[in-house]
């Protein structure tokens, strides 16, 4: 792995113990210039991970706690009348930060949700007819509680698609939790040095696009998405946006591992995170569903024979 990323993973790993894979995926998402959705039960370390990422890359961080009465203006910012200058000035909301943690995104009303998702897609917001560009890099980490919990407005499929990846941290292992209880990872003393500067991050995001992807890998991606469209067991087939996302994530993963070209292993490594939330039907209880993306991976041979 690229030495600098290795340092980030190591640093984050001290606070979120035993979740190497998820940390790597989160960094991949960041350098692929995509947004991350973390779906998990409360108290699994979602916020810690976001804080950690922000400090490691030296990003301004803000956190918006979504509730059912949160309005778009609370998030985007408002025009306030300045009585000294006799004019309205725009007061930017918490969204104007490089890393935004949208906590419990599915507790907000659809109106607020779609305002956030629009900002994610366009990298800009419009308030009262004026367009304001969001800072660069702009990275949203959405967290959501499982959709079967009460008091949630599930994100529609079209909006889930905006998140490049969806990961879930899951319970820590016995050893990890022991280590945590014995003194590691205390939120109060949560200070992390900046490992990679923001400027470097922007360069990396450019370099990811230069990673080579051979025809064979593209054909593998196409076979995967075609299978999802033809086999008929998947509630939602993978869209062209999904295949683009898959390629982008695979490139970032290859870059993270200091390789100049994509191999099928890269696709497989990011596939569950990229594809599962697009394949699944949110209306069904996720506890009873098998991992559809794994099934899809098993059914397609990466070697075109």
């Amino acid at each position: 792995m690229n030495a600098r990323f290795h340092a980030v993973v190591k640093a984050l790993g001290q606070h979120i113990i035993g979740k190497q894979e998820q940390i790597k995926l989160a960094i991949t998402c960041l350098i692929a210039n995509g947004h991350l959705l973390i779906e998990d039960l409360p108290g699994m370390g979602k916020t810690t991970l976001s804080h950690g990422l922000a400090s490691a890359f030296g990003l301004n961080f803000s956190r918006i706690q979504f509730t059912s009465d949160l309005l778009p203006a609370d998030m985007l910012g408002v025009n306030i009348f300045d009585s000294q200058q006799h004019e309205f000035t725009f007061k930017p909301g918490p969204l104007f930060n490089q890393l935004v943690l949208a906590d419990e995104i599915n507790r907000a009303s659809p109106k607020t949700q779609s305002a956030l998702l629009e900002a994610m897609e366009e990298h800009q917001v419009s308030v009262d007819g004026t367009t304001y560009a969001l800072p660069r890099p702009f990275f949203v980490i959405g967290t959501q509680n499982p959709s079967y919990q009460s008091g949630t407005y599930p994100l529609p499929e079209s909006q889930l698609d905006r998140f490049l990846m969806r990961i879930s941290l899951g319970y820590p292992s016995w050893e990890a939790e022991t280590a945590m209880l014995q003194g590691g990872g205390n939120r109060q003393q949560f200070t992390m040095p900046e490992v990679i500067s923001t400027a470097d991050l922007l360069v990396y995001q450019q370099e990811v696009n230069q990673i080579h992807c051979s025809d064979n890998v593209i054909s593998y991606i196409l076979r995967l998405v075609t299978q999802s469209r033809e086999e008929g067991v998947y509630p939602n087939a993978l869209s062209p946006r999904a295949s683009k996302a898959l390629l982008q994530a695979a490139k970032a993963w290859a870059y993270l591992h200091a390789r100049e070209f994509v191999v099928p292993e890269d696709i497989q490594a990011v596939f569950v995170a990229v594809a599962e939330h697009r394949l699944r039907s949110e209306r069904d209880d996720p506890r009873e569903q098998k991992v559809l993306s794994e099934r899809l991976l098993e059914s397609v041979d990466p070697i075109a024979a």
Binding site: S214, V233, I267, V300, I303, A304
Partner: protein
């Protein structure tokens, strides 16, 4: 959905297969015992309650095992009465029903699917009409639907139906070719006789006991004539010749039966004397469960194949070598003759003069008187017929019972009856007078179904008399014709209409109606006729005919080409399906070499690649391979990755070098792998 338990609530596939098995067992109402059907209905109920979630837990395996033991005990008990075939069908349905309750695994479902196909086949043992064929086709579709819903639970049902229809359409041409071309072999084993007896003619006739003749409008056979159709009054379809008479009952003579068996054993074939012209026709007989066939005298089988299957007995009966368990077609030539030559006059006279020495005193006295005035045989017979014409005899289907002294009561007292009464009384009278006489049963007339086709129904059943008046042979006499001439000229319906009995016999109800009902009935009858003639009756004979029609005279060379052509056509159809897969098989040499290396490792160490990408598989294999083999496989894998994914891509020179290196590595690998015994998976 590879292993583990299937979901129960809301699982469409298991619900559909439950419905399927229940519907099928209801359609097998005839062969199934009532409690087996009830069992299957109960399981449907269990399945429904599981499906709707009224009840969450399927009954335990122990409960089902207990039920299964009880069921098999009961079936064993009943099997003594049922016979092998019926018990097996009952067993299959009962087993399927019990399996349905426990249905929880993939294996269970597939077993039920296979059993379902078999049950559809069982259904065809009992019903072959076009309607039942359509019904079974529909159930087959439903079964396929259940199978598809099992494998693609998320799919919308419209899409499933689309897939099924598409695949059936693909299979259709192959099915048609196989139907036309496959040799139609006669059954390899004999179907165990089912004991559900069919209504129809009986081997024993006791006219005096029958108070109300029950007849039906069931079809007995269709006869399709080539050329001329004999006129209605000449259409006497012989089925049985009854020669043994004990004063009440006519039946097939046991002596006759013994002679026939002996002749058959020594293949002592009887070829009646025949003279042209003849009527040529094909009979498609419905299943009767009996082995006698129907034909107009004097009948001989027309084709060689028929000759092997049908025995012509010396009393002019046609006997099939297997009971008619299903529809059957045979070709006959009939040579109309006034006289049936007697093959053994002395024996037949002796056989047909036997009467009980007691009873019917009045008749005996009357016969003696009549014989004195009419010593000539011809005159005597004429006098008897005259007696029937002179006195007020009535043709009725509901005659009064005449248990004691049948002949006396019938001839002098009641004077009412149907064909067997007249035939029986007349044959008895002739025997008393010393004229050898016997009763023949069969069918008379039949409706003209189409121009060349006669259909004969159960209500056309008839009985008449044959007597040896001169030494030349048997002459047919029909006393019914004297009493009710319209019976012969116009059919039973006419007779009943004039006597006002029609209302009692509702088997005509369908025919008499006008309008739509009649139209539909006719259409169904036509469809069934074509179905029987061209699909069920499609035998070796017709196969040869078809080929001759298409390709002219058949020569071995032509047959060879025809077979080859059909093979090619079938493989062509299959190729259409497989071609897209074959196309993908054109793979580059690097992949070929890599896959061969994978193959070597898989078979040596018992690990499969399972769609893993190359580097992942390398990691897995590295743990098992010995060091040298590991380094070779490492090289092969990395060359493969470099060729397929690396940037910049290899130029030609580097590619060739890589290829030859890969070949060397592969050879080395082949030597270095050590076969691990017992883990071989190929």
């Amino acid at each position: 959905m590879t292993a583990g338990r299937l979901p129960i609530e809301g699982h469409t596939a298991s619900m559909s297969i439950a419905v399927f098995i229940c519907v099928l067992s209801l359609s097998l109402f005839d062969p199934l015992m009532i409690w087996v059907i009830m069992l299957s209905l109960c399981t449907l109920f269990v399945r429904i309650s599981l499906y709707l979630g009224w009840y969450q837990h399927a009954p335990s395996q122990r409960t089902i095992n207990l039920l299964a033991i009880l069921t098999s005990l009961a079936l064993t008990w009943f099997s003594f009465d049922l016979g092998l075939l019926l018990s097996m069908i009952n067993l299959l349905v009962a087993a399927c029903s019990l399996k349905l309750i426990t249905l929880s695994k993939r294996k269970d479902f597939l077993q039920l699917f296979a059993c379902g196909l078999f049950l559809i086949g069982c259904g065809f043992i009992y019903q072959q009409s076009i309607l039942s064929a359509l019904f079974y086709f529909a159930t087959l579709l439903f079964l396929l639907f259940a199978l598809l819903s099992f494998f693609t639970p998320q799919l919308a049902w419209q899409k499933r139906i689309k897939i099924i229809s598409f695949q059936l359409l693909q299979a259709l041409p192959i099915a048609i070719i196989l139907f036309l071309v496959m040799p139609h072999l006669s059954p390899l084993w004999k179907m165990p006789t089912s004991q559900t007896s069919k209504t129809g003619l009986a081997e024993k006739v006791t006219p005096g006991d029958i108070a109300n003749l029950t007849q039906s409008d069931e079809l007995v056979f269709h006869a399709t004539f080539d050329g001329k159709v004999p006129p209605r009054q000449d259409r006497y379809w012989r089925a049985l010749t009854l020669e043994a008479f004990d004063g009440r009952t006519w039946e097939i003579s046991p002596h006759r039966e013994r002679f026939r068996q002996r002749n058959q054993r020594f293949n002592n074939v009887f070829s009646p004397l025949t003279s042209t012209p003849s009527y040529d026709y094909q009979v498609i007989a419905e299943a009767s469960g009996r082995s006698w066939l129907y034909a107009i005298d004097i009948a001989v089988p027309a084709t060689r194949a028929d000759n092997e299957q049908i025995w012509v007995s010396r009393d002019y009966q046609l006997i099939a070598n297997q009971p008619l368990m299903s529809k059957r077609a045979y070709n006959v030539k009939s040579y109309p003759a006034a006289l049936l030559p007697s093959p053994d006059l002395a024996l037949e006279s002796q056989l047909n003069l036997m009467v009980p020495s007691q009873g019917n005193e009045k008749t005996r006295k009357w016969v003696t008187q009549l014989r004195q005035t009419h010593p000539d045989n011809h005159q005597f017979v004429a006098a008897v017929m005259h007696y029937f014409a002179q006195h007020p005899f009535v043709y009725t289907l509901s005659p009064p019972p005449m248990r004691q002294n049948f002949a006396d009561t019938f001839l002098f007292d009641k004077r009412a009856g149907f064909c067997s009464h007249y035939a029986s009384a007349m044959a008895y009278v002739l025997r008393l007078a010393g004229i050898p006489a016997r009763m023949v049963t069969g069918y008379q007339g039949g409706e003209r179904f189409k121009d060349q086709v006669i259909s004969v129904y159960q209500y056309d059943a008839h009985a008449w008399v044959e007597a040896i008046v001169s030494d030349a042979g048997w002459t047919r006499y029909d006393p019914t014709a004297v009493v009710a001439p319209s019976r012969l000229n116009a059919g039973l319906r006419e007779v009943l209409e004039t006597s006002g009995e029609l209302q009692q016999h509702n088997f005509f109800s369908g025919i008499g109606q006008a309008g739509v009902v009649k139209e539909i009935r006719l259409i169904v009858a036509h469809l069934n006729y074509f179905w029987g003639r061209w699909v069920l009756g499609f035998d070796h004979h017709q196969q040869v005919n078809l080929f001759t029609l298409l390709f002219g005279q058949l020569t071995p060379l032509k047959i060879t080409f025809l077979m080859l052509g059909c093979m090619l056509a079938i493989s062509g159809f299959l190729a259409l399906y497989f071609l897209p897969r074959w196309k993908r098989k054109s793979i580059d040499p690097v992949t070929q070499l890599y896959l061969r290396a994978v193959q070597i490792i898989s078979s040596a160490y018992g690990i499969a690649r399972h769609n893993q990408p190359p580097l992942t598989f390398l990691q897995e294999a590295a743990n098992l391979l010995p060091d040298e083999a590991k380094s070779h496989f490492y090289e092969i894998t990395h060359t493969f990755v470099a060729y397929h994914y690396q940037y910049p891509p290899l130029d030609d020179k580097a590619f060739n070098a890589a290829l030859s290196k890969m070949r060397k590595d592969l050879k080395a690998l082949q030597k270095k792998v050590v076969k691990v015994p017992g883990t071989n998976r190929d």
